[in-house]
Subunit: 198 residues, 2 copies
Amino acid sequence: MRQFLVTGHDAPTDDSFSLDNIAGGAGRLDVLCRCVNAAFFLSHDIREEVRVHLVLSDAYTVRFEGSDLRRLNPDERSTAALIRGALEQREEAIGHQPVESSPGVSLYRMGFEATLEAAARNATVVQLHEDGAPLVDAEPPTDPLFVLSDHHDFAPAERELLADAADRRVRVGPERLHADHTITVAHNHLDTDGYTRY
Amino acid sequence: MRQFLVTGHDAPTDDSFSLDNIAGGAGRLDVLCRCVNAAFFLSHDIREEVRVHLVLSDAYTVRFEGSDLRRLNPDERSTAALIRGALEQREEAIGHQPVESSPGVSLYRMGFEATLEAAARNATVVQLHEDGAPLVDAEPPTDPLFVLSDHHDFAPAERELLADAADRRVRVGPERLHADHTITVAHNHLDTDGYTRY
């Protein structure tokens, strides 16, 4: 199982946003949508052994479960519609009990800390950070949970939590990449590992 | 200079499409938009030494020039708007004379063959193909031109042209990836080359 936790600092916490302006009026939801795309899509296939946690402004988390996903499409707009559909049912998410709004898409009333704690159980927590060790040098982790930030840096409180939780700190290259591109590179690294000269 | 040529087999050739449905009504223009994103964006920066050629249904080509780009944003919709803006001026593109519709964005009345021929001058043509040699084994090319197809395979005529033009055939991993993910992996490979244990 590969997990990706992406924290969206400006992401919406209700369903009042328009799908026509997700990069502007919806707190850069486009960034999170691209992360979902990068995490799940293969050419004409879906990575079933993947789970994605999108933390929305430290208030809610939308979880995508690869093995159950049925209506995920690669474009940003339709993924934003799935997130909006989850937020429409936010009153049904009580305590830590999620509500499933579409096959494989569930909303949790959990912020960064609770989501990180739950996802980290039985996982190797890998913080993706520009000061980390090069990915190519790193021993591929078992059941990795990659933790990424959106277009902003991690908030101070998130950094503290990660300093405690992270088993490793890794960077994907000499250039600083967008979160979704980082996910693509991490997948490719794990895909090719073990396939010596695949 | 890194170049990427992406051939879009169902892409629009006029500006009548809606930005609200680029994945449906506009011939999977979302695929091409994501390729532009993957080719140019770094975190809070643009790769200036990159040129992208989007071939639209073998009739037109939209060229994005990294060093001149001014209004490119990461989301699919705004990139689709740039492509639509280029197509609005299609009557101005006469012969092989392009029309620049926005800084760094130009429309050419050129299909796959003419675009490939022009882009291949002084470039190492690399066909990205599942039967190619693993990228990790390949000597990084000088001034590479990566040629990719959208969500369809290359058309027979394109395959023939590529068989003649391609200096190398490369694949990025054991999994078959979307075109935009392939671009991200190719960039990362070139970024890290030379940076032994960067």
